[in-house]
């Protein structure tokens, strides 16, 4: 692939140490347009019966920044992510990726999806699995191999490229899935509970690894998670969603820059974010 990651000054759309701001509904942060949802709604009809999965969801994720959707199961957070991935078509509102519709973005391969199951093809070795995206995109074998090896190294899987997926642990498979997502140098990473199936220790380790990868690639990320700490570690803003109908009830800014280390967990601001998100999740009014 000849195109490169678009790089933006990481600090531009994010206040490094600014006070935490809590706003309900859409945030109006200036910055290059990234992922945007405008009054997105999703209603399922079955005969006379109507189920509102999403109502009036608006979200703005500037390019180069990271956002999380957090909420209880069934709040529609995965649905919203899948709307951006063009898997689900919204029944109301518009979702755009850098101004493109999800269908256009999919055709241009500007985003990559990472799901909870690492979704490996069991008959392909790790290298073959990581090469899959490039193969579909029609890249030449040499280029395919080089890029895949580069990404395998980036996610820390060097030496395992000739193993079959079932020979690796769940965490390693998920690293491979991330490597595969990165091979097409996507502008947007859509991650649907990527570490949901992993144990707490592996998950936290991978959280900080993903931080490093995000910094190195400059990608814009939307993460669906049900872990408060994961959301804080990996986000510039966290959208809290409530179910029935699924809507974004709170938007919490995480005031850490992009140069984060594991030490951020001991920062009092981290604890404050945690408390704020917990209150928001349990239906409380915004703290401020």
């Amino acid at each position: 692939m000849s195109f490169r990651f678009p790089r933006f000054p990481v600090s531009a759309p994010v206040r490094d140490t600014g006070p935490m701001m809590t706003t309900t509904m859409a945030a109006s942060d200036p910055g290059p347009i990234g992922l945007r949802a405008e009054a997105v709604g999703m209603t399922y009809r079955r005969g006379q019966h109507e189920t509102v999965a999403l109502a009036e969801c608006s979200l703005d994720i500037p390019r180069g920044t990271w956002a999380s959707l957090i909420g209880a199961s069934g709040c529609g957070k995965s649905t919203l992510l899948r709307i951006f991935a063009d898997i689900v078509k919204p029944t109301a509102g518009v979702a755009t990726l850098h101004g493109l519709s999800p269908a256009q973005a999919r055709a241009n391969r500007t985003f990559a999806l990472v799901s909870q199951q690492s979704t490996m093809l069991p008959w392909r070795k790790i290298l073959g699995n990581v090469e899959l995206g490039l193969e579909v995109a029609g890249a030449q074998p040499v280029e395919r191999r080089n890029t895949a090896m580069q990404m395998i190294e980036l996610v820390g899987l060097a030496g395992f490229e000739n193993a079959y997926p079932h020979e690796l642990s769940g965490g390693m498979r998920q690293r491979a899935a991330i490597a595969r997502a990165l091979t097409l140098r996507p502008q947007f990473l859509l991650m649907d509970e990527p570490f949901g199936a992993l144990d707490e220790i592996t998950r936290e380790k991978l959280n900080f690894e993903l931080l490093r990868i995000l910094r190195e690639t400059g990608a814009t990320m939307l993460l669906v998670t049900h872990s408060i700490s994961e959301a804080i570690i990996l986000s510039d803003q966290v959208a809290v969603m409530t179910p029935r109908p699924g809507r974004i009830s709170h938007l919490v800014r995480i005031g850490f820059g992009h140069d984060r280390t594991a030490a951020m967990r001991d920062d009092p601001r981290f604890t404050a974010c945690e408390a704020e998100l917990r209150h928001a999740l349990h239906g409380g009014a915004p703290l401020h």
């Binding site: 999919r106 391969r109 990559a112 979704t119 008959w123 579909v136 079959y164 020979e167 690796l168």
Partner: protein, 280 residues
């Protein structure tokens, strides 16, 4: 098996240290027993067989003795072998054509609902035809050479392959399909990168089911009308009361059937290397 898995999980530098062995493998005697005991039973059976036939307790016309069968091989071996090649040719041709046809139609089914709705009911109806019953008609149409035998083998192998391949081609899970969808893969890419590899275990199920069937069907068809092949030979020897030759031919049929089946099993192992290291 556990040692193989562990060595992959440990980085190359650590691979030199022996992997812990979770459970003791079978002892030498336990392994030898698997071969020795059935062999002993076989030898005992053959000895009993030789005894009851050689002493005339069972008439040689009813049951040929093992020694007589061995000598039948030495006198008529060439003839049996030549006819075996005919039957094998019929069976393999039918096997190849029938399975290919079944797979191609299954691929068509996956890509076109209209094709499936049009052809599937007819395929099921055709499957219900007791093919042996219409062999006389087939011989009338296709003569008594290899053609009707191949036709029957095709007929019998095609349906199991169609059903299994159709299931196999649809067996890839939703996540994989979504992945290919978000990558904007073409239907052709989905077929070759996901559907066909995912269907391999199903294809081999069908191949195993039909490997012996095509041999049997060729022999049955030869019984009814032919001038060569193992089925023809059995009826010929039977009519001449060459009972040891009948048995020798039947054993050849069995050996041939086993070889065809064995070849499929070996091919299965070779075709799915990722399964060989699977822990389950």
């Amino acid at each position: 098996m556990s040692a193989v898995d562990a060595s992959v999980l440990i980085p190359a530098t650590a691979a030199a240290t022996p992997a812990p062995v979770a459970d003791e493998g079978p002892t030498r005697w336990e392994r030898a027993r698997k071969v020795v005991l059935p062999a002993l039973l076989l030898v005992a059976g053959l000895a009993l067989w030789q005894y009851v036939t050689a002493t005339g307790k069972i008439d040689a016309l009813i049951l040929a003795s093992p020694a007589a069968i061995v000598s039948a091989f030495s006198t008529s071996g060439g003839e049996i072998l030549a006819n075996m090649l005919v039957t094998l040719g019929e069976a393999l041709a039918g096997f190849a054509i029938g399975n290919t046809l079944g797979l191609l139609i299954a691929i068509a089914f996956v890509h076109s609902d209209l094709t499936r709705r049009t052809i599937y009911p007819l395929a099921i109806a055709a499957e219900a035809v007791p093919i042996v019953a219409i062999i006389p008609v087939l011989i009338l149409w296709l003569g008594n050479g290899m053609a009707p035998k191949i036709f029957i083998a095709v007929f019998l192998t095609f349906f199991p392959m169609l059903v299994n391949a159709y299931r196999g081609l649809r067996s890839a899970d939703t996540d994989v399909k979504e992945l290919l969808y978000t990558l904007s893969a073409s239907p052709r890419q989905v077929l070759f990168m996901v559907r066909l590899p995912a269907s391999v275990p199903f294809l081999f199920n069908a191949l195993k089911l039909t490997a012996c069937t095509c041999v049997v069907s060729s022999i049955v068809a030869e019984w009814l009308a032919s001038s060569e092949g193992l089925g023809f030979l059995i009826t010929l020897y039977g009519a001449r009361y060459q009972i040891p030759e009948v048995w020798a031919t039947a054993l050849t049929c069995t050996a041939m059937s086993l070889c065809v089946f064995g070849a499929v099993v070996v091919a299965e192992r070779l075709a799915m290397p990722w399964r060989r290291t699977a822990s389950t």
